[in-house]
Amino acid sequence: MTGDVFHFRPYNVGRWAVWGGYGLLLLVAPLVFSSSLSQTLLSQMGIAIIGCLAYNMLLGQGGMLSFGHAVYSGLGAFLTIHALNRVGAGTLHLPVGLLPLVGGATGLVFAALFGFVTTRKSGTTFAMITLGIGELVASMSLMLPEFFGGEAGVSSNRVVPPAVMGISFGPQIQVYYLIASYCFVCTGLMFAFTRTPLGRMLNAVRDNPERVAFIGYDTQRVRWFAFMISGLFMGIAGGLGAINFELATAEVVGAQRSGAYLLFTYLGGATAFFGPIIGGVLMVLATVVLSELTKAWLLYLGLAFMVMVMFAPAGVAGLVLANLRLAAFGKLRPMLRWYGGLVVAGGIAFFGASMMIEMLYHLQLNEALGPVMKFCGFPVNVRNPVAWMAALTQVLSGGLAFELVRRRVVVQWEAAQADIERELKRREAA
């Protein structure tokens, strides 16, 4: 019967361009950034992107705030590493490239098991229960050294001869491309999920569970299914992590990791599908690069998170989308000048504040190294009151300028939004 009706379906050029660009980016990234550090970072980013996207399936699309999602990636990592050891010993015949699927299956099974309990509730109670389940598994991991390897964790070797078509997974670049292909496919699948009836019902359950129940859907079951699918992709991320690091420690199921998924998914932006991709990149940059640069990175992270929740609840992706909207209506150009002012004033205040923070941390942690520390290449004496006064002056002057500019920006912003609304109404009427 469907053949009788002609459906006009033009190629969605924009979609092809976006997905093609995404694939190309994954493909050429290690060629542009070819140092071994950047290859390591890129591999971790690929894993973090899958993890954050899977997490956002709950947070953004289902409105479920999980505090224990590292459980599924972590257990996936452990099962994968055990499977890898079996493959290495010759008792299991599976190509190494398919092992992340073992992790995915593990994530799915445990998400089905634990999710059955946790998804009985929604909202804040759901958050509390996931935290409890997370703690349960984290404590279990230290109790069962036979499976979790105790403090040292379980290690393995991903190079299992013979190499298939020259791919041994020895060099990092080969692992990167394994991760990149999983990342691309998983992103595609997770995007496709948002277009399925289940994905749509999940949005409905997030927005108005009462009404969904009234129509005759079981909201608990919708949440449970979404939880399982999220667990599947979390498990794949965990399995890739196990292959990448050749190690799984109790840390991968821990509360810290769960918190990181939440934090960075939100920072990236939970309301847009591509937000968690930004979040995954930020996650690796912060946990690997920022933590090398400064001891106070968790403080910066906590502050950035709180500021984001208070002032930009849609995350980085939300900021991008809002400005794209401005640009589409030709309102962005006059704003740019003010953004420049915000960046300069905020930069000055941030420079002063971070100088004070670094001096404080130096006093607390590196007292033995003497009172002089390096800050942005300059030697700074933390015992010298002049340094503190200078930093404080920067914070105050920068903060004052920032506030003045911010007020102007808010006025401009609201005027621009009002203009856009009017324009939209005019178009609708026309």
Partner: protein, 337 residues
Amino acid sequence: MDQTVINILNGLSSGLLLFMLSSGLTLIFSMMGVLNFAHAGFYMLGAYVGYASSRIVGFWPALAVAPVVVGALGAVFERLCLRRVHRYGHVPELLVTFGLSYLILELVQVVWGRAPVAFDPPAVLAQPAFTLVQSAATGLSVVLGHADAATCAHAACTTFPATRAFMMLVALLMLLALWLLLRHTRVGLVIQAALTHPEMAEALGHNVPRVFMLVFGAGCALAGLAGVIGGTTFVTEPSMAAAIGPILFVVVVVGGTGSLVGAFVGALLIGLLQTVPLTVDKSLVDAASALGWHVSTDSAAYPLMKLTLAQVAPILPYLLLVLILILRPRGLFGTRE
């Protein structure tokens, strides 16, 4: 017998400490719908502020100073941050307190360092509250404070620390004060009204946002008070918040979210569950062999079954949580939703 009594008392005192924390959490939750993720952080802050102020003004004044400071900080946080995200809904509110928990942890580490600090109880509390003397000749008897060495020479003496007795006393006094405040004062009436009918309370001229701020501050102050007592009884260190935080949520879910009675019963239950099994050095393997079923060391379930009850004690609260959710999803004293 004497050991069992002490164990149960230890469990009850831990439970009462948990109640001091979860009562604030529940109060804030039932009133504002905000799950304060940083509640354990305020507890830790209480311990550290108590430590710092006890070195200046002594322990007893610090017992009052720390709650006031922590409560004020909580109220400021509510006014500046929480109120701003209130319009976005409950999830951002939870997230902002989640960010705060990171911040508190880092600040505590910057100010007081990463190692535990020596926050000792005053001399009065440093000794045992009473000693249980178990002797073959006279049976079980109770001696206040220390039992003399002559008695203990030919009898088993078990002591109960005064800090724990003090903990129980303060928690019970707090429970009484809270009940009196909520039931028999004007402020309590306004709070109860704002809890169930915020719009109506506002229409009658009460400043509901300010009531919220005060309740949040009071909840944090209770956490601060618990922090001073917990800090002297246990160890004052940066990991103390992460250790107690998840347990608090278990208490709240098990008791039934939003119910003070539930928080009380749940806290006692979890306190006992955390403490009493610690002394039972038996495992499922022992249980099986008592039933005449021998588990060999190479069977697949052996690693799981050989764990003693003392070893699995840390996860028992979480198992209880799962069990409650399956059998009674609204918690012991929760109302139907």
